[in-house]
Every structure is written in structure tokens, then in C-alpha cells.
Amino acid sequence: MRYLPLTPADRGEMLARIGVPSIDALFAEVPVAARLNSLVDLPRAMGEIEVERAIGRMAARNVAAGSAPFFVGGGAYRHHVPAAVDHLIQRGEFLTSYTPYQPEVSQGTLQYLFEFQTQVALLTGMEVANASLYDGATAGAEAVMMANRLTGRKRAVLSGGLHPHYREVCETYARFVGFELAAQSPAPGEAEDLARLVDGGTSCVVVQNPDFWGELRDWSALGRTCHDLGALLIVVVTEIVSLGAVRPPGEMGADIVAAEGQSLGNALSFGGPYLGLLASRDKFVRQMPGRLVGQTVDADGKRGWVLTLSTREQHIRRERATSNICTNSGLCALAFTIHLALLGESGLPRLARLNHAAAVALAERLHGIPGVQLLNRAFFNEVTVRLPRPAAPVVEGLANRGVLAGIPVSRLYPGRPELADLLLVAATEMVTDADMGRLTRGLAEALS
């Protein structure tokens, strides 16, 4: 088998050196009843040709985003990743290295994570960021738990504009870790009065910007209300490219930012692996979950980097850890760092402008379709439209005709008939004029 370097002769020599007659002797502690007497009922080993054929066949059954006009967003976005990114992350020293527990031979990983932490802090307008979490939704739940620890309180208020998956993950953690949530109902197109829900027992308020409906808001006033009452403001960002054009949470009074970094460097990949970002204030850093890379010097006085503040983490604090997290999203963070290094100060805002321009053009065209109503006042690259009938069959019909028209809100809010007519439509720099034409014509036909 091509991945196994031992030959039968090797095995024989090694068994002799160990002093056992066969490999079975080394499995003697396995209870007899649990020993498998034959191979498990699965296919035998396959060469590359056959594996490629089998998995390639499955891949070929799917409609790839690039093969159709594509307007699907909802917290994961189709952006162009420059070719250099994928080449660099596949260098073996990045791909096949481990967590940098031995810093002297991991300065590559540690330096890029330090650069990543800096980039995330700069983008979000915050003081400090960690070396990534699993995804935006778990980052959101970790942010709430961090706020609970910092305030000593146990009730979090969640905006109705928060991505439903993010709310659902918070609900799961709340139930088992033991805290309360006041999750507001989804109310697209309406202003929410979250300030009245904050009191001396509130640990945090969680809002999203742009929110699930694509709407942009200034959360500064809510931030002030929270702070007056000793609560924290958590801002979620599911489209990180928006921070190339939109005022960052750090300039709106956010105490913690939980975000999804997939849009930079990382493919859609049917939902994972993605990239959780967590940023906050310096004074809160000892309560931040996840890994942190810090700068220091070595015995020669040269600048270098190490994992630091690890005593908060599970491998030392065990049951008193800030979180049970062990793994971060290293390679996804590297892809993010490289992509953002390529874009830089002038490229990210330009990319953001392209996205916004596409969305503005699309919103105008959608609004022009009879029966279609745009719900957004301010938006970045995603909008919500109300159709004159349920959106799910319309989307399905358009998919059959080769257009991936967006997300019917009922896909994520099945029990709410009042939302069934709503459609989320995203437009990134990958959307062409022709794509928009096919969408608007298709919609108009479907609704006529």
C-alpha cells in the first residue's frame, strides 16, 4: 500500500527484535470477544485512479457556484481567491506542520499567526485578536461566554438580525453550559429596540452588521446603553470583506467582535472548514478563549514569537479552562492572511467597493421587477427582497433553469410563514452584468 513504508521483511525483523511471533501478540490485551476475525465489511484498498473516479463522480453531480449565475450568501460568500494563496498554503511546511508547541521550529506558523492577529484587529478596529476559532457561529457563542465571565452575569440578549445558525449555536451552548438567552424574533425591515432589554442582569447584547437581512446600522448608541449598565456589546460580522468599506465594530463601541473569515482566502466548500475570528479589548485578553501568539525575544536577543497566555487553556487549566478548545483553524487563517496581504490597504477597499457596486446595481434591478420589494435601506453586498409569493419554489424553479438565485428565508426560518416570501440575494465581485440579467429575467418570468 503506497502510504505504508514497511515491507514484509521489515515486519519480520521488527517482530523478531521485539520478541513476539506475530503482530497478534501485540493485540493480546484486546478482549477476545471484541477481536475482529475478518476484515470489516468495506471495499478493499484502491489506487489513485479508482479513488479519483469514485469521488470525482460524486463531485460531478453537484452544480458548482462558478457554473451558474450565483447569488447565494447567508453568511458564506463566493469571492475570488488569487492563485498564489492556494499554492502557498499547500507548501508542506505549512500544510503538514502541527500546532507550534516547539516555537524554535515553528517560527513560520507563529509569525503568520501574529500577522493574522494584527490583521483581524486592524480590520475590526479592535485592540487584540486571537489566532482563530472553528467558525463564526462558534466564535459568537464563545464571545457570549466570555462576556458572561467578564461581567459575572448570565443573560445575553440576541438581536433578531443575528444569523439563525449563530443564534442556534448560542442556544445549544446556553442550555448545556448554563446561561440564559433573550433571543429576539426576526423582523426584517423593522428597527429593533434592544436598549430597553438591557438591565443590570444583562451580560451582553449581540448584534450583527451587516445583519442577516443585509442591513447596516450604527450600533454606537446601543453600545453606550450597554456600558452604562455594565453590559458588553458584541458585534458579529459574517461578511468580513464588508470591513473594507463599512465602519468597523471597534468604532461603534464593540467590546467583542465575533466574525466569519471565510470570505478571504477560503472556498465555500459546502460549509466548512471555515474561520472563526475573535477580537476584543486588551483589558479582556485573559478571558479570551483560543490560542494567542505573543512576541518575545530568544536567547540571542532576536525577535520571535510563541504561543502565550496558555494557562487559560484546557491543556493546563483542565476543568477551569476558559474553553475546551484545542484546535484552531490554522491553515484557513493562513489563507486569510495571504489573501489579505495580497489585497493590502488599497486592494481591500477596492474589493469592497466592487461588491457594493454589484449589490447596488442588483438591488436597483430587482426593485424594478413588478411585485418585488426591496426591504433594505442601507446594505453592503446582500439584500432581502419580498416576493409576491413563497420564495422557496421560485428559487427551486430558477435552479432547475441554471440560476442559483439566493436563499429563500424559509430555508433557515421554516416555522415562520410571515417570512416565506422573503429571498436573500448576495452579489460579490464575481457577479457579472450577464448574470444579473439572467436572474432578473428569470425572476420576472417566474413571478408573472
Binding site: R286, T311, I316
Partner: protein, 125 residues
């Protein structure tokens, strides 16, 4: 100032007037390694004998520090925030953690004196 008394968790306490000064022992600091951070309570906070009063972090470990006696926190050693190395360099002096207004001076009687503590530490090895 009285002679220090010691606990099995390697904390020390001694009286200074009507305040009880608390810290960790030389043995504790040597086990921890370089101290990087000390989490101290707020003045006014109550601590109970045997319950967690502070947390001391080194690069490789984080340890709870339990109050040897009960009382109300009168003062904490703010100098440790800027220079946690004091805990390593002078654990019974400048590395003190907090001063308590003592509930009951009798609680010290139940703790080990220096000789008994030294014997206890030797048995640990």
C-alpha cells in the same frame, strides 16, 4: 509582626497589627516557575478559610490560592501587576498577595509553624 504560619496548600499568613498578610511560599513559587500574572480580589471582597482567594499563573501552570484564614480584603499588592516576578524573588516579603481584616485570630493556631511546614515540604519529595 508575628511569625508566619503555613497551610498544606503552601500559603503563608502572618499578622501585621490587626491585618493578616497572605502569600505563597518559596516552595510554591519554585514549583510554579516564573510567575507571569496574579489575579487578586477587590478590596472589600470577603474570603473564607480554605476557599479560593486568588489565582497565580506561571508559564506552565495556573494555581488557585486558598485563603488560610477568613476575613475581608483590606488591601491587595498592586505592585504584582507590574512586576509579578516579585512572587518568585521574595515570596514572603515583597511578593505578598493581600491583607485581610481578620475574622478570628484563633484560626492561625490550627496552621503549621515554620518548623512543621519545613517537615511537611520534605515529606513531599
Amino acid at each position: 509582626m508575628s511569625a508566619p504560619r503555613f497551610t498544606k496548600d503552601h500559603e503563608w499568613v502572618r499578622l501585621e497589627g490587626d491585618l493578616a498578610v497572605i502569600g505563597i511560599t518559596d516552595y510554591a513559587q519554585s514549583q510554579l516557575g516564573d510567575v507571569v500574572y496574579v489575579e487578586l480580589p477587590e478590596p472589600g471582597h470577603r474570603v473564607e478559610q480554605g476557599k479560593e482567594a486568588a489565582v497565580v499563573e506561571s508559564v506552565k501552570a495556573a494555581s488557585e490560592v486558598y485563603a488560610p484564614v477568613s476575613g475581608e480584603v483590606a488591601e491587595v499588592n498592586d505592585g504584582l501587576a507590574a512586576d509579578p516576578a516579585k512572587v518568585n524573588a521574595d515570596p514572603l516579603g515583597e511578593g505578598w498577595f493581600m491583607k485581610l481584616r481578620l475574622d478570628d485570630a484563633g484560626q492561625l493556631d490550627g496552621l503549621m509553624d515554620e518548623a512543621a511546614y519545613q517537615r511537611f515540604v520534605e515529606e513531599q519529595h
